[in-house]
């Protein structure tokens, strides 16, 4: 089953996303910020990274930049789920918070397929 890494600082949102995606059959890992995410990515190569932009310690932009700078991580699809969609780096798949789960799941599938 495809593995998805959730990077989200809001614990409620993180838990709901984990539960939702687990229920959808994905193998879900989670991280509270960019540093934790990079620690996971050191050993895992998920099918998709769902990430927030505004996070403490290491934010989403820096995480995207770090992944882009790594040959292996550069190929992993990403989906930005943020309350500030207009601030996402150009060319990234992005959906706005708050979001319906239907729309979200559609975006997840589309991102993995790409």
């Amino acid at each position: 089953m495809s593995q998805i890494l959730i990077v989200e600082d809001d614990p409620d949102t993180r838990e709901i996303l984990c539960e939702l995606l687990s229920e959808e059959g994905y193998d879900v890992r989670s991280a509270a910020h960019g540093c934790e995410a990079l620690a996971v990515l050191a050993t895992q190569t998920p099918a998709l990274v769902v990430l927030d932009l505004y996070m403490p310690v290491m934010n989403g932009w820096d995480l995207l930049a770090a992944m882009h700078g790594d040959d292996r991580l550069r190929t992993i699809p990403t989906l930005v789920l943020t309350s500030a969609p207009s601030q996402a780096p150009p060319g990234t798949a992005v959906i706005a918070k708050p979001q319906e789960i239907g729309v979200f799941l559609k975006a997840v599938r589309a991102a993995i397929a790409r």
């Binding site: 809001d10 409620d12 949102t13 709901i16 996303l17 539960e19 939702l20 229920e23 505004y54 789920l81 309350s83 500030a84 207009s86 918070k97 708050p98 979001q99 319906e100 789960i101 239907g102 979200f104």
Partner: protein
């Protein structure tokens, strides 16, 4: 020394000689021997001579005294005359008999006689002795006049020193010093010396009652002397004249004064300085006094030169004082404190504001080292200024200080922030003369800047809350609700739907509040632009509304319009708002009409609906329809939103440099017009034509 003073003909009157002799024959012989060049008077005895001589001012130049007379002898007359101060120096020639002894001569000369002649004498001898005496006397008189004049000039110079900057004082001193010494009356008159009253500037008369009379007379006229242009006369230099001469020269208007005061002789002199004639001095003698002489004129000219010098000084001094006063007054108007110090660090100029900002220690004459006594001066870091480190002190030392901030703390604890600049004052020769500093109170600006900063910080925090912080929990609610809805049994579906609908409404309100905040505080709604085909946007919006309101009809005519670079999502928001309003408020049995067309240089989208009976927008609401927090026409719709929809629509259109307008009437229906300017005209895209759906 004028030569003519030694010439007996220089005086208009002949020298007077008194003769005392008890023999009328002897007296006549003497008169005859003297010849026609003297005025003679004969006294037959000593007592009548003495009686006369103490009562008159018109004393003789020489006295010829017979040594042997019956009642009072010549020797006694001599003693008497020498004892009285008025006659102590009267020249006396003893006339003695031929049998005169040496003892008599010695006794006579001891008694005070100046010379002697023994009878019989040759007329030439008598005349030669008289002339010798007169010559000696003239020389003595001249010496005395010269020394008197020197003393007078010195006195005048001394008094002028005390006049200070006052022009009137200078002229008063001139008159009051010269008149008693030289003439009987005098006045100085000038039109242009800056005196308050045109007329004479100074006036003096030897006799107080005559001065009062003269003053009254002059005051009644318009000038010093009505009808006489004194300045004009002065520039001609009318020198001294005797009474008889004056009548031929003096203008008729002056003649009444000549009679009133019995003026016998007058001098009219210009008061000149380097810039020309500044005024006129008129001085006269009255009654039987002798006429002005050439040396009087010379004396007055010298005195006037002194006076002109003093006037120049007085005027320079007064001009400097005026300039100082003007400078002070001007500087006091400055909202900036100005402080000028000399090279010793003494304050030489400080304006009102500098005293307010720096304390009274900067008053003129104070020393910069006292600055710290008023308040405590620190740098913005709180560090105290060391001695000599204040901007003005550094300016004195040659440094240019620009816009340095410093904080002054007053004894009461009040704090002011000042911005100080300073620059050294250097002479043309490069010598350091001092320094000048300017102080500006920027406390208010500082406070305002801090407030602006706080407000900006608050705005960005508020925008952050609206844009980010509120959305995270809302996202959790929305997603959790979606998850619950998937797992819920039929009983829970309705309630879960309520949660979903409410959280969706909250999302919309948060979106609107964010838009409002950005429009009002953040400088406008930000746009994300791309090429937009407005016809397609309208069609999509209407498709969505048609799905939501299957029963409603839309009458659409979309003419081809240029593709413009706009924010598609934001324009969708505007059109959705306006067309949805038409659907909600318009008559359900009538089509909502939507038109898109080009008019001039503008793209126009019109959305029209017919009104239900009495459901048009009332005129008072029309005026404020696009303002924030307006409510819709249906009061029961209040709960649906914040009343920000049309305000945000207007802001979005404004961000596209367009306008939104509305018309509404019971019969004509309600029409919104969205007007957007055409900026660029690219090739027209193939556009769908309109039709009725």
């Amino acid at each position: 020394m004028p030569e003519n003073l030694l010439d007996p003909c220089a005086d208009s009157v002949l020298p007077s000689i008194w003769i005392a002799d008890d023999s009328p024959l002897e007296a006549q012989l003497i008169v005859h021997a003297l010849g026609p060049n003297y005025r003679t008077q004969i006294f037959s005895d000593g007592s009548s001579l003495l009686e006369r001589i103490v009562r008159t001012d018109d004393r003789p130049k020489v006295l010829l005294l017979d040594w042997v007379m019956p009642d009072i002898s010549g020797e006694e007359v001599c003693h008497f005359l020498r004892a009285a101060p008025e006659t102590a120096s009267l020249p006396i020639i003893l006339v003695t008999a031929s049998r005169i002894s040496v003892d008599d001569v010695v006794a006579g000369l001891s008694a005070g006689a100046d010379d002697y002649v023994s009878k019989p004498f040759a007329p030439e001898e008598l005349r030669a002795r008289v002339e010798a005496i007169l010559r000696a006397q003239r020389l003595r008189d001249l010496m005395q006049r010269q020394s008197e004049r020197l003393a007078l000039t010195a006195l005048l110079a001394k008094r002028l020193m005390t006049a200070g900057p006052s022009v009137t004082a200078v002229l008063d001193i001139l008159c009051s010093t010269l008149v008693p010494a030289v003439g009987d009356a005098g006045l100085v008159w000038s039109e242009e010396l800056g005196l308050a009253r045109p007329g004479f500037a100074a006036l003096a008369h030897r006799k107080p009652e005559a001065e009062a009379r003269l003053r009254r007379l002059l005051l009644t006229g318009s000038g010093p002397i009505p009808g006489v242009n004194l300045t004009g006369m002065a520039s001609q230099i009318l020198r001294f004249v005797s009474r008889s001469e004056s009548e031929a020269v003096i203008p008729p208007a002056l003649r009444p004064y000549m009679d009133e005061f019995a003026i016998s002789s007058l001098i009219l002199l210009p008061l000149r300085d380097r810039s020309g004639v500044r005024g006129t001095l008129l001085m006269w003698r009255e009654g039987g006094r002798e006429s002005f002489a050439a040396d009087d004129l010379a004396l007055l000219e010298t005195c006037l030169d002194y006076c002109a010098l003093s006037l120049e000084n007085a005027q320079l001094y007064a001009a400097e004082q005026r300039m100082h006063a003007r400078l002070d007054a001007t500087l006091d108007q400055f909202p900036v404190g100005v402080l000028v110090a000399d090279e010793q660090g003494r304050t030489c100029l400080s304006n009102q504001m500098s005293r307010e900002l720096l304390g009274t220690t900067v008053e003129s004459g104070g020393h910069l080292s006292q600055l710290g006594q008023g308040g405590q001066f620190t740098r913005p870091t709180g560090e105290l200024y060391a001695l000599g480190e204040m901007p003005i002190e550094r300016a004195l030392a040659g440094e240019v200080v620009r816009g340095e901030e410093l904080i002054v703390r007053w004894p009461g604890g009040a704090l002011r922030t000042l911005r100080a600049s300073g620059t050294p004052v250097v002479s043309q020769a490069g010598m350091r003369l001092g320094g000048v500093a300017a102080f500006e109170d920027i406390s208010e600006q500082k406070i305002a800047a801090r407030e602006r900063e706080q407000l900006a910080q608050f705005q960005s925090q508020f925008l952050g809350i609206l844009g980010h912080d509120l959305r995270n929990p809302l996202n959790a609610i929305t997603m959790a609700t979606g998850l619950l809805a998937r797992r819920a049994g039929p009983d829970d579906t309705r309630l879960i739907g309520r949660i979903a609908a409410s959280s969706d409404r909250m999302r919309r309100m948060i979106d609107q509040l964010l838009d409002l905040t950005q429009a009002r505080l953040g400088g406008g709604i930000p746009l994300t632009t791309q090429p937009v085909n407005l016809g397609e946007v309208i069609r999509n919006v209407i498709d969505e509304l048609q799905t939501a309101h299957p029963g409603r009809r839309f009458d659409i005519v979309l003419e081809p319009v240029p593709v413009e670079v706009w924010d598609q999502g934001r324009l969708e928001q505007v059109l959705s708002n306006v067309i949805n309003n038409a659907v909600v408020y318009g008559r359900a049995d009538q089509a909502v009409r939507v038109r898109l067309f080009v008019e001039g240089s503008e793209i126009i989208c019109e959305v029209h609906n017919e009104n239900q009976e009495g459901r048009e927008i009332p005129p008072e609401l029309l005026a404020t329809l696009f303002e924030p927090f307006r409510r819709g026409r249906n009061e029961h719709q209040r709960s649906h939103g914040l009343g920000l929809g049309l305000f945000i629509a207007k802001e979005i259109v404004a961000a596209h440099h367009g306008q939104i307008e509305v018309r509404s009437s019971a019969k004509g229906g309600t029409t919104f017009r969205i007007i957007l300017p055409i900026v660029q005209v690219p090739a027209l895209p193939p556009s769908p034509t309109g039709g009725v759906t």
